[in-house]
């Protein structure tokens, strides 16, 4: 389930081969690094040292003697069709449905020493190599075992809380919202640099301290199918300004933007040439020549329409993206930290945590004076907050229950700071159960309630003005595995209660050993102003073929 792009052409394949050089270098370096670890014995139990099995080292971190470096990974090829986008334009048919697809590979290296583990996980595809090579490094970490204490540092994805899907206590990693076809939670998480120390307090209890030297918010697409509507509509406005100019009715409806400029240039070029002909041959009719020149100018501009549109779109993209002035957050000013204690007793698991960090959703200052004072760029900021939370997991009446409750205390304790979101209570409550015939059901309700809501909007340009104080989302998944787990179907529904947005994700998969052929769709619906409905034009269907090794 990697990102999607077009299929390789010969030229792109050549380009990718060139770009693979840094990848190969990283691979070689990582293998060399791991080779330096001794293949030391660990605890003297288990089977990983047994020659009788003759199995290659697995990536499952099985018990037993350690065996140096293990390599695992996955290769995926998928192709995605965005139905709504293809058929929405006038004259388009189903045959015009945009397709995208490309192979994605991931390589996981793991090395184990007597008291140390090292992990390196790489993701590779054309999009990453071309647009964001830094994203190739998915995770990289070292964990040292010192008796009851584990020290771990690196680029990590770490899960806090009990909820299966984006619970309020899962605060350490932001989410990648640039590809909403990613449905596995670890695929959506963005690894962060962090250092953690975990102290075991018995077989089922531990306390964990985590320090993150910097901060990153949720990653949001600024173009493409998953760009938020607020951004794309702003781009559309700016596009029109470039295309038609500030006065669209000028010049007989051509406006005074790029289109008019092209027309003017074409007209001047053709007209001057034709009048030169008239000057040389006075017998020519000026009217006829003018009509001919106008026709040629029209034809020239018509042929250049795509180029004009592309130029306007590029200018609008750059302008809008440049308008957003994000702060530098990879500094100690944005350091974060937290403590989490977990234990089990009486048939239940409990967690208690405190976190001091930043809310991952950016806040935009809409005050025109601030916009002007900031060099005509919109100041973006992130809100500091304290979080205290508890969670619980237990089994009741055959249901595997999970619950989280958090208090998110921002620095707006009066509730009237327009640029700081109010304190809020957040929660998640869910369960899963096996129904019948191998069908399982997983349900999670989550949401938040803004406190001091009566103070919202009392100051101008309050970022929460006009938004719901209560937000709640219900997610349900039905799944069944058939024919010895060689066939699997799944239907996931996500419903936002307040704005009515809905997402349906049906999946059908055929599993042959370690290979998987999967057909999947994402159907977004609801009002254009709803969180999910805004992506109605990005509803998609996908077929993928993958092999895990």
């Amino acid at each position: 389930m990697g990102a999607t792009k077009r299929m390789f052409s010969d030229s792109s394949r050549n380009r990718s081969r060139t770009n693979l050089r840094p990848v190969l270098f990283v691979l070689a370096a990582s293998v060399a690094l791991f080779a330096a670890f001794p293949a030391a014995a660990q605890d003297g139990f288990g089977f990983d040292d047994e020659s009788a099995t003759a199995e290659a080292p697995d990536t499952g971190q099985g018990a037993g003697l350690l065996s140096g470096v293990s390599v695992g990974g996955k290769v995926v090829f998928d192709t995605t069709a965005f139905f709504a986008a293809g058929v929405s334009a006038a004259g388009d048919t189903a045959a015009d449905t945009p397709l995208s697809g490309l192979p994605t590979g991931r390589l996981d290296f793991k090395a184990q020493g007597a008291s140390v583990d090292a992990v390196l996980k790489l993701r590779i595809n054309e999009s990453i190599l071309k647009d964001s090579p830094a994203s190739m490094l998915d995770e990289a970490s070292v964990r040292i075992y010192l008796g009851k204490v584990d020290l771990e540092g690196g680029l990590l994805k770490r899960s806090w809380g009990k909820a299966d899907n984006e619970g309020p206590l899962d605060v350490l990693n932001p989410y990648d919202r640039t590809d909403l076809t990613l449905t596995e939670i670890l695929d959506r998480k963005i690894a962060q640099p962090m250092l953690s120390a975990t102290l075991a307090l018995g077989p089922l209890s531990k306390v964990e301290a985590v320090f993150l030297p910097g901060f990153e918010g949720h990653r949001i697409a600024d173009s493409g199918p998953w760009a938020p509507l607020a951004l794309t509509s702003q781009k559309a406005n700016v596009y029109n300004q470039f295309y038609y100019g500030a006065n669209p009715s000028a010049n007989g409806g051509m406006g005074n933007g790029l289109y008019a400029s092209y027309y003017s240039a074409a007209w001047a070029s053709v007209y001057s040439a034709t009048f030169a002909q008239v000057a040389q041959n006075p017998s020519l009719s000026t009217t006829v020549v003018s009509a001919s020149a106008a026709a040629q100018a029209n034809a020239t501009v018509s042929a250049q329409t795509s180029a004009i549109a592309a130029q306007a779109a590029e200018a609008a993209n750059g302008k809008v993206v440049d308008l957003l002035d994000y702060p530098e957050t990879d500094t100690l000013e944005y350091a974060q930290g937290g403590l989490r204690y977990t234990t089990s007793f009486g048939g239940a698991d409990f967690g208690l945590q405190y976190f001091y960090g930043f809310l991952p959703t950016p806040v935009a200052n809409a005050d025109p004076l601030a916009f002007a004072a900031n060099g005509y760029r919109v100041p973006i900021s992130f809100n500091r907050y304290h979080q205290a939370g508890v969670d619980l997991a237990t089994v009741l009446l055959g249901l595997n229950l999970r619950a989280e409750l958090a208090a998110n205390v921002t620095e707006d304790l009066e509730g009237d700071d327009p640029l700081v979101t109010n304190p809020a209570i957040a929660w998640a409550l869910g369960f899963d159960v096996d129904l019948f015939a191998g069908i399982s059901l997983n349900v999670q309700g989550s949401g938040s309630l803004r406190l001091l809501d009566d103070k919202v909007g009392t100051a101008a340009f309050d970022v929460e003005d006009g938004t719901d104080a209560l937000k709640s989302r219900v997610l349900g998944t039905l799944m069944q595995k058939l024919f010895k787990e060689t066939v699997e179907w799944k239907m996931t529904a996500v419903y936002d209660v307040q704005d009515g947005g809905l997402l349906l994700n049906p999946t059908l998969a055929f599993i042959v050993g370690d290979a998987r052929l999967e057909a999947k769709a994402g159907w977004f619906t609801g009002g254009k102003d709803s969180e999910l409905g805004q992506f109605a034009d990005s509803s998609y269907g996908r077929v993928s073929l993958s092999y895990a090794f």
Partner: protein, 255 residues
């Protein structure tokens, strides 16, 4: 020393219950192997109706203690499930604690202890089949039916009828060697009384002084599918660190 659950032996002991004469036979069979701990590496081959096969490689560690049996299962293959770990801590008189670590989720989850008749890892074994060694003797009514020979060995044939009408089988018939008390075969019947599955145990070897079946084959005669479990490695009384049976181990793979 208490009996310890073991995937490859569980099914052999499944559904053995007693009337008075049958009780002693079944009890002798179930208590035949005693060990402080058992470690196994098993290869499970699942055969579909069309003859295609898929494989699982599973390690299992179990220890017995005064507080109950602790069992850890580690999925080694296929790659799509490698790294998945199950931990079960038995709580005598109370519901067992069970957790699973799923690499795709990145965290430990508590799960319910009863999956009942659902398929275990996509095999022809149900969860109840796998845990049948822990099934109480008085949960079924046993009847000694007859004597027969299996693979040249004289066997008792004993019928077990569950007292709980909600149990997945209406009755089970077991073949137990008369001289060695080794279970060799079980037939399981569905709620309608039709034969549903047949379990056969073979390749019996002396492992550390215990006669142990290395091959277990479950056939679903209705779906015409089968699952064969081959115990590749087995160790009795191996020293297993206590830290293996912890939620920390589930997360890190380190005791």
């Amino acid at each position: 020393m208490k009996r310890i659950a073991l995937i490859t032996l569980l099914a052999a002991n499944a559904a053995l219950l007693f009337s008075q004469n049958a009780d002693g036979i079944v009890r002798a069979s179930r208590d035949r192997i005693k060990s402080e701990s058992i470690s196994t590496r098993s290869r499970m081959v699942i055969t579909a109706k069309d003859g295609t096969t898929t494989e699982r490689l599973v390690d299992q560690y179990a220890v017995d203690s005064a507080a109950g049996t602790k069992t850890l299962i580690v999925f080694k293959k296929p790659a799509s499930v490698a790294g998945t770990r199950f931990l079960t801590i038995e709580n005598p008189g109370k519901t067992d604690d069970r957790w699973i670590f799923l690499p795709a989720l990145g965290k430990v989850r508590r799960i319910s202890s009863g999956e009942g008749s659902g398929s275990f890892m996509g095999s022809d074994f149900s969860y109840d089949d796998v845990s049948s060694a822990d099934r109480g003797v008085d949960e079924d009514t046993h009847t000694l039916l007859r004597e027969e020979t299996v693979d040249g060995k004289a066997c008792w044939v004993i019928e077990a009828k569950p007292k709980d009408p909600g149990y997945q089988y209406s009755r089970m018939v077991s073949w137990i060697e008369k001289d060695r008390s080794i279970g060799r075969k079980i037939e399981m019947f569905d709620k309608k009384g039709n034969l549903l599955k047949t379990l056969e145990l073979g390749n019996i070897e002396d492992i550390q002084g215990r006669l142990t079946p290395r091959t277990t084959r479950m056939v679903n005669v209705q779906t015409k599918t089968s699952t064969t479990i081959e115990v590749e490695i087995m160790k009795y009384d191996d020293v297993i660190p206590e830290g293996v049976f912890t939620t920390r181990y589930l997360e890190t793979g380190r005791p």
